[in-house]
């Protein structure tokens, strides 16, 4: 009996399991000290799956989130940082724009934009003053693609709910009335307003960086 109940309860869940999707890879990661900052050079691959590429091409802005963890000799986390890369496509100008660390770069094709996004050169992660006193450290990086921001998701929910509003208006005009379950609202409630992550890379770790000369 217990097994039967367990089977029934778990029955719908396998369908809800996320499908395996293409995830970004970090092929190279190096941390350097320059002036008073900890900088990172990184090379990434497979950043955008076909679905995300189509989303970008249709003009929806996408975010590539770079999460940095600075770890000491004993692999203990000593500092964290995040840099966000915003990608958008202007169909009228036929240009891809990439904004990272207050700098805007433009690509005339998707491939060019992907090259821009896949290469991080001397990206400032932390000010040296923000790092604790450690002799050596390593930098870990995880890249996450967020094709639907929370704002977009909110718009998406509104669009789902507006479908029911239109139906309700049509019902009212035709003289029909009565109680009905607003399925769209229920669905949109469970869809939530959070951003959607589609593909996160594995954590990559840079070679150790000597910090002995840190002032």
């Amino acid at each position: 009996m217990r097994r039967l109940l367990l089977t029934i309860l778990l029955l719908p869940w396998p369908h809800a399991l996320p499908l395996a999707a293409q995830v970004p890879r970090i092929t190279a990661l190096t941390a350097v000290l320059e002036r008073d900052s900890l900088l990172v050079d990184a090379q990434m691959a497979d950043l955008f799956s076909t679905k995300i590429a189509n989303t970008i091409r249709s003009g929806l802005p996408t975010v590539v989130r770079c999460d940095f963890r600075v770890i000491n000799e004993r692999d203990r986390e000593v500092a964290v940082a995040r840099q966000v890369m915003e990608i958008s496509y202007d169909i009228w100008a036929q240009r891809y724009h990439v904004v990272l660390n207050h700098s805007r770069r433009t690509g005339s094709s998707f491939e060019e934009m992907e090259r821009i996004c896949s290469t991080l050169t001397r990206l400032p992660v932390l000010a040296l003053a923000e790092l604790p006193a450690v002799s050596t450290c390593r930098v870990r990086l995880q890249v996450t693609v967020v094709p639907i921001s929370s704002r977009q998701n909110h718009q998406w929910r509104e669009r789902i709910e507006s479908a029911d509003l239109q139906e309700a208006a049509a019902a009212s005009e035709s003289g029909r009335s009565g109680f009905s379950v607003n399925v769209s609202r229920l669905l949109s409630f469970f869809l939530g307003g959070q951003e959607r992550v589609h593909g996160a890379s594995a954590w990559a770790t840079s070679p150790p960086l000597q910090l002995a000369g840190k002032p």
Partner: protein, 494 residues
């Protein structure tokens, strides 16, 4: 009992779960089908093609503007030889000097506001570049010699603008649904669970309540049966409702009451049978030597031929006393024999009132108060046996006190008739009442204490019952109940 309750709850949960899961499965399949149709590969390809088509059209617009800018630039270089340039009238061109001042513009009638503004720095160095296009117009810039900058604007046709916006929106919506497909399916499951869990809890609660309503009376019955088995014949199960379960509880209580009454009857009959056996043995053992003893006494008396008158007188007196005692013993033996060998009943339909009137005529010297119900139904009873019962009760009542008023009352009741013999005598002490029907129990100086025992036996044999109530100083009341139907014969252990 807990298992039965668990089964109830599980059944209710399953009854709720099965249709809900079926509906959820159908809904999910419908959603999958709808998504599969909506997100079909051909649809995606069509949308991408449409997107590329509008991009191509926009590109052509850009190329047309770019060509015009190049031609105007070439014309400006050869202006002295070939005359002023004549750009496409659909374009608005502006020539800015190295300080950003407007040097020339086409068409000549255009105002400053209608002309494309110079692009924000950094300015392009040597080739065509974007100069702030938007959905209304495409704008390009071309640097010329001497720091001059030629900026052109081409209005996006309204049809192209609307088509592009429509295609972009469709593509965006498609891509979002495509990306959200898994999450949408998961959300459907979550929505199903959110709707189903309260229903499940409600059904479990209802199952629990109904199970409790059904199992609680069963538990009462089980407990009642256990208590009865332990000998607690006073225990009754509570009747909780007027439905079938309540009827079952009532039937159980009735059954227990009947069993208790029958058990009491059986006990009384067994007791009576034992007493009768004792009476029979005693009668036999006492009766047999009485005749030889009497003969011997007579022989002793006759055998004396002496002249001693005193002795003769003493002998005669002693033998007389012995003979009197022998007579008493004979009477005792006769009563014992009568008790031990009660005649077999021959019940027949008769009117109880007639019996009362016949017996009452035997007591002309005492005033008997008769309250006889004329609607009394015909009852089946043994006339002689019941006459003996009434005589016994009347004798007791009349002997209780010479001044006692005696009342005989008859009345009908449900399925039986009642006869009450009441007196206003001194009454019976409460401690004697439980033993009043026991053989050989008597509060009178004379009598063997068999009268009421015989009465109870006869009434019981008729399938009836007799009860007594008494208050010292106020009198005693015997209440006799006889069934209206023919009594089922009880087996006696003789």
């Amino acid at each position: 009992m807990k298992r039965l309750r668990s089964k109830f709850i599980l059944t209710f949960a399953l009854l709720t779960l099965l249709p809900a899961v079926t509906v959820a499965w159908l809904a999910k399949n419908l959603l999958d089908k709808a998504l599969a149709i909506g997100l079909h590969r051909q649809t995606a390809e069509g949308l991408n093609a449409a997107l590329q088509a509008v991009q191509q059209l926009t590109h052509q617009e850009r190329e047309a503007l770019g060509r015009d800018l190049q031609q105007v630039a070439a014309a400006l270089r050869r202006e002295k030889a070939t005359g002023p340039p004549s750009p496409d009238p659909a374009h608005r061109l502006a020539l800015y000097d190295d300080h950003g001042n407007l040097a020339r513009h086409w068409p000549a009638a255009a105002t400053r506001q209608e002309l494309p503004p110079p692009p924000a720095p950094p300015l392009p160095s040597d080739s065509l570049s974007e100069a702030g296009s938007d959905s209304l117009a495409i704008r390009l810039a071309l640097p010329l010699a001497d720091g001059l900058l030629l900026v052109g604007e081409r209005r996006v046709p309204e049809t192209l603008r609307r088509q592009t916006v429509a295609v972009l929106r469709a593509a965006q919506f498609f891509n979002i649904i495509d990306l959200e497909r898994t999450h949408l399916q998961r959300s459907l499951i979550a929505a199903f669970l959110a709707a189903y869990v309260p229903v499940l809890l409600l059904s479990v609660a209802v199952g629990w309540y109904l199970a409790a309503r059904i199992t609680a009376p069963l538990q009462d019955l089980g407990e009642g049966a256990r208590r009865i088995a332990q000998g607690d014949w006073q225990h009754r199960v509570p009747v909780r409702a007027g439905d079938e379960i309540g009827a079952m509880a009532r039937a159980f209580n009735t059954m227990v009451e009947d069993l208790r009454r029958q058990q009491q009857q059986v006990i009384a009959l067994e007791k009576m049978a034992a007493w009768r056996e004792i009476a029979r043995v005693l009668a036999h053992e006492i009766k047999n030597p009485l005749t030889p003893v009497q003969l011997l006494v007579q022989q002793i008396q006759d055998a004396y031929h002496g002249d001693d008158e005193n002795y003769r007188a003493t002998l005669r007196e002693s033998c007389g006393i012995i003979n009197e005692e022998i007579d008493k013993l004979r009477r005792l033996v006769r009563e014992f024999s009568d008790f031990a060998r009660l005649p077999e009943l021959h019940p027949a339909p008769a009117q109880l009132n007639a019996l009362v009137l016949e017996v009452a005529r035997l007591y002309p010297r005492r005033v008997l108060k008769l309250e006889l119900d004329q609607s009394l139904p015909v009852t089946v009873f043994d006339w002689e046996a019941m006459r003996r019962v009434l005589l016994n009760l009347l004798e007791n009542a009349l002997q209780s006190s010479p001044q006692a008023e005696v009342t005989i009352q008859t009345r009908p009741a449900a399925h039986h008739v009642e006869m009450i013999v009441a007196d206003t005598g001194p009454g019976i002490p409460a401690e004697n009442l439980p033993r009043i029907f026991e053989p050989y129990f008597s509060t009178k100086k004379s009598g063997m204490g068999l009268g009421l025992a015989v009465v109870q036996q006869i009434v019981t044999e008729h399938g009836g019952a007799i009860t007594v109530s008494s208050t010292v100083g106020r009198g005693t009341c015997f209440q006799l109940r006889l069934p209206c139907t023919t009594p089922a014969p009880l087996s006696w252990s003789k």
